[in-house]
Symmetry: C2
Subunit: 672 residues, 2 copies
Amino acid sequence: MTPELDAGRYAVKRVIGDTVWVGADIFKEGHDLLAARAVYKGPGDTGWSSAPLRFDFDSDRWYGSFVVDRIGLWTFTVEGWTDAFGTWRSELRKKVDANQDVHVELLEGALLVRSAARRAKSPAIRASLLQTARMFEDAESTSASARIERAFDEELLIAMNELCPPRDLTCYSRELGIYVDRPQARFASWYELFPRSQAPDGRHGTFEDTAQRLPRLAELGYDVIYLPPIHPIGRTFRKGKNNSLTPEPEDVGSPWAIGNENGGHTAIEPALGTVEDFERLVRTANEHGMEIALDYALQCAPDHPWVKEHPDWFHIRPDGTIKYAENPPKKYQDIYPINFWCDDRQNLWNACRDIILYWIARGVKTFRVDNPHTKPLAFWEWVIGEVQREHPDVIFFAEAFTRPKRMKSLGKLGFTMSYTYFTWKNSAYELQDYLEELTDSPMVEYFRGNLFANTPDILNEYLVHGGPAAFRIRLLLASTLLPLYGLYSGYELYENVPFRPGSEEYFDSEKYQIKPRDWEAPGNLNPMIELVNRIRRENGALQQYENLSFHTSENPQVLFYRKAGRVRPREWTGGRASYYAVPEEEATASIVAAGDAADLLVAVTLDPRAVQETMVHVPLADLGLTVDSAYVVHDLLTGARYTWRGSRNYVRLDPMSGQIGHVFRVEVLGAR
Amino acid sequence: MTPELDAGRYAVKRVIGDTVWVGADIFKEGHDLLAARAVYKGPGDTGWSSAPLRFDFDSDRWYGSFVVDRIGLWTFTVEGWTDAFGTWRSELRKKVDANQDVHVELLEGALLVRSAARRAKSPAIRASLLQTARMFEDAESTSASARIERAFDEELLIAMNELCPPRDLTCYSRELGIYVDRPQARFASWYELFPRSQAPDGRHGTFEDTAQRLPRLAELGYDVIYLPPIHPIGRTFRKGKNNSLTPEPEDVGSPWAIGNENGGHTAIEPALGTVEDFERLVRTANEHGMEIALDYALQCAPDHPWVKEHPDWFHIRPDGTIKYAENPPKKYQDIYPINFWCDDRQNLWNACRDIILYWIARGVKTFRVDNPHTKPLAFWEWVIGEVQREHPDVIFFAEAFTRPKRMKSLGKLGFTMSYTYFTWKNSAYELQDYLEELTDSPMVEYFRGNLFANTPDILNEYLVHGGPAAFRIRLLLASTLLPLYGLYSGYELYENVPFRPGSEEYFDSEKYQIKPRDWEAPGNLNPMIELVNRIRRENGALQQYENLSFHTSENPQVLFYRKAGRVRPREWTGGRASYYAVPEEEATASIVAAGDAADLLVAVTLDPRAVQETMVHVPLADLGLTVDSAYVVHDLLTGARYTWRGSRNYVRLDPMSGQIGHVFRVEVLGAR
């Protein structure tokens, strides 16, 4: 059965409004006709709904679909049975056509019809069925031709399909889950900012200062504004600027060292404002069509209230001290990891859950989860389940930069989306290989990558050395390869000074100090950000996840890919991907594409320094074009239109003049 | 986990002596070191054995292996745990190297060592561990350097690996099955003959006549002699020659219409001989290194004793008659299908099982099962399990020519091997596509194809129209593509007259009449059969299943493929095949190759009529050859040797002169 993840251990992911395609191998011995259906149950449903499955001969497999129209956990499975009446009718047809005597066959039919009559609720239908049965049995007073005519009566067929007991009724051995998210789980533009840096004059910024920036951020097309932790910051072993162990008294510390005398994970750093200020910020964002995402970082500064109240929630060493974080020989004495398996874990886990519920009550619907791979997988599965049972529209974004299997597992167990290895993929080969893994493997069922181009922890050397053109290139890649992408503030200003050569840390990192900027400094990247975000909103192809395909560029310095306007539904089974074998009009109806469903072709240079020329190979057949068709490619970045012909076409990109790529909308001349 | 079939619902298949490779994703949160092992249990074992798993960084996955050295059903699963002592030791190393104080770390180590001491059975080891723990705790009288030296003591490590309680011990949620067969389940040459046709003088042949042929059949290299049903043949509606409905009194009928007044499935047709004659035939075959396979055809002629004794085991129609077989509008009134779901099914199924046990008691170990896809899958799973529990070396060969999913399912539920679509695959594209599905897909875990070149039911038009060259071509393909292949007698005489044009039935089919032949008629195919069977026995590459790969032949009329001498173990997971990431010497050790492990390259023309020339592309890298190496290809069919160089080499095949292919053994000049 598809879609099924790890033998049903985890739910697959979909977004509200999606058509869920179901595939199943259904067979029995012999020559009987079979029938089958998917049965499914949405959140809160008490009974099952059903959708018929139909047999496809070529793939020797059954297919059907249903639409998931509510957010939350759905359940589905498949039932198959012998179509006893259909089998009887089909064999009777052949015998009648061969002029064979069907006296006994009609008696057999009478048995079927009587068994259906017993299940009829309508007295009229029951009477009609009984009359049919008597007719089949009555060779004396009814002619063979009349009885045969009745056997093939359409109304009889309808009544029998409804009422004939499903012989051999067999249900798939597992009920499978589908977690249905709101649309922002698959399509959103993220922006990360430190509220304390938002004051225009260099003082400690507040939520009020942050709110001042929202109108412009909305104009730029962002959907989610993500804030690093907003809680009181520990004082013991507080880090100074540039992660120094010897801070100055005025140093503000890392927001991830959570907790001091003013409170812990449910408190707000007083310098940022009050809870009411925060709630106002959330409302303002919502009014601008955006939302605020909070950081959920389960660790404590030594001054966190929990350390005093619940020292047993931490790792206590044989000398009675609490174990601080370390990655030997490195020590992080400003951070105490939580002992999730402590004896009092039930209260601890509840307290961790209650942090989320507290912020949900203040309007937050999205949580960026700090380092989930250092906390138990079982905890995440539990806490996400707990929260989403009451608040199914809450989104969890895993900040896990770790080994592949752990990242995948976090996606499977419930994280809505995840950071990726994108920042470290800079060559055409690396990008294609990795993006194909994300969008063209069984991962599509459970792992949604969010392509952050930078983070406070990751300033990739490509940006360090590539200058503004590199920032443009990575922005275009992030915003067009996948529907989820993000920028950490400073990106628009091309900030690219590392802490030291070879480091991915920023110099004067905002993690340890207030960092005011002139967000609209001359030459900034905002015009391009605003443009790509608008193109994303206007083009359904950029809002889909599985519609990415790479095509030949003869120069490996230029990456060439297609974002398809329409996605044919695929299933992953038996070792490979295949298309659901369903009529094209049905498959097409399953496409959810806000805006337009045009095909996009994207060419991006990966060289931020020199002009690159290439011939790209347009996948003509996929676009419905013939070998010699002429067609127009309309660059949505510049507005320029080019007439192309055939597959092989010329592209020239000059990063120095700002032209680092094309986002071509394919405008076919004439009908497809 | 691999190998796993349908979430553990079915066992995978192996052959005795195979190394079973196991792969697993094992991970937890954080930075602790892990350890893992496969645990497994052979047939009859009361306890578990174990084999360590090792982590491969590149694939982020754990691997290990064990050897299955007994026939029958094995069980295995995987366990992982936190290597608490290893983690402690590794972190201590880093801190010591960084000159950090490790006083508290040693106290933590003492706790680990004390917990191990509690599990020590040897008083000496327990005392030693306790002394170590006291030393770690005693900062007063022991120097730091002495304590640290003890921490890294090798004997301590060995004792701790043995005794340290496995923290977080976690077992995979399912126990998986491996069915281990005897070698003939994967490598055998089959020959089908009708005993009644074996008399040299045209009278009704006997087991004694059949026994006369065995020495020559052994000489020809056959391993299994398969007999169509040997039971009394029904008289009611008996079919005459060429399936006629109007038989002559002397017509012998179809052996598949089983049962008359002389008995049913446990009786022998008197004209063939007695049970003692049959047992003697089995023994004679065994003495010649061959075995006799019987047909297991679960259907009855109207004269079968069961029809009188157990009419309720059949389908009774509303008019009281027993339903005969039909495929509307065709009627098979000489055959009654069994009603496997009748009320008395427990006795019926037991009776069906007892037929098999009866013949096992008379020396039969292999059953060719007639049309299993027309009987319930549940019955097969039950009866194969019942028989193999007592007789694990019994082989079941599914004669299912049906839809792909049903054929696969029969393999999964327990059939040792299966007929295939091979007879209908005659072009290079069809052969490559189908053989790749058989040998390069998850099917390798459960489905073993046996390539019969013809059967009493299937005379393919390729043989009808292609003459002797076609028979040579299909023989070479069948015997070299897969290790299991078979011929139905008459093949060696190029019998190719169909019942009528376009029919796959033979004219004067042996199914309905005695058909004596001169088996050594001039020009017969036996010399080639003897040769290919000898080549198969002498070359390990032809005894393996998954070692087939196709390579370019520039002329599609010539098929070019490699049977590799060594097979790198592969696993099927996450949507694709990958190699088990294990050291090459370990992987190589897992190769079971009787005879020689040389690589073979096979070129076969598919055109039985005209000379075909082609350039074939030798996979040099796979053979360990460099682009400009010279190497010798030794044609095992003719003895000719050619020196080839580089990848692209010339092949010319002339079917009219009998040269329809080459089986080249690659003999490399110099070391690999």
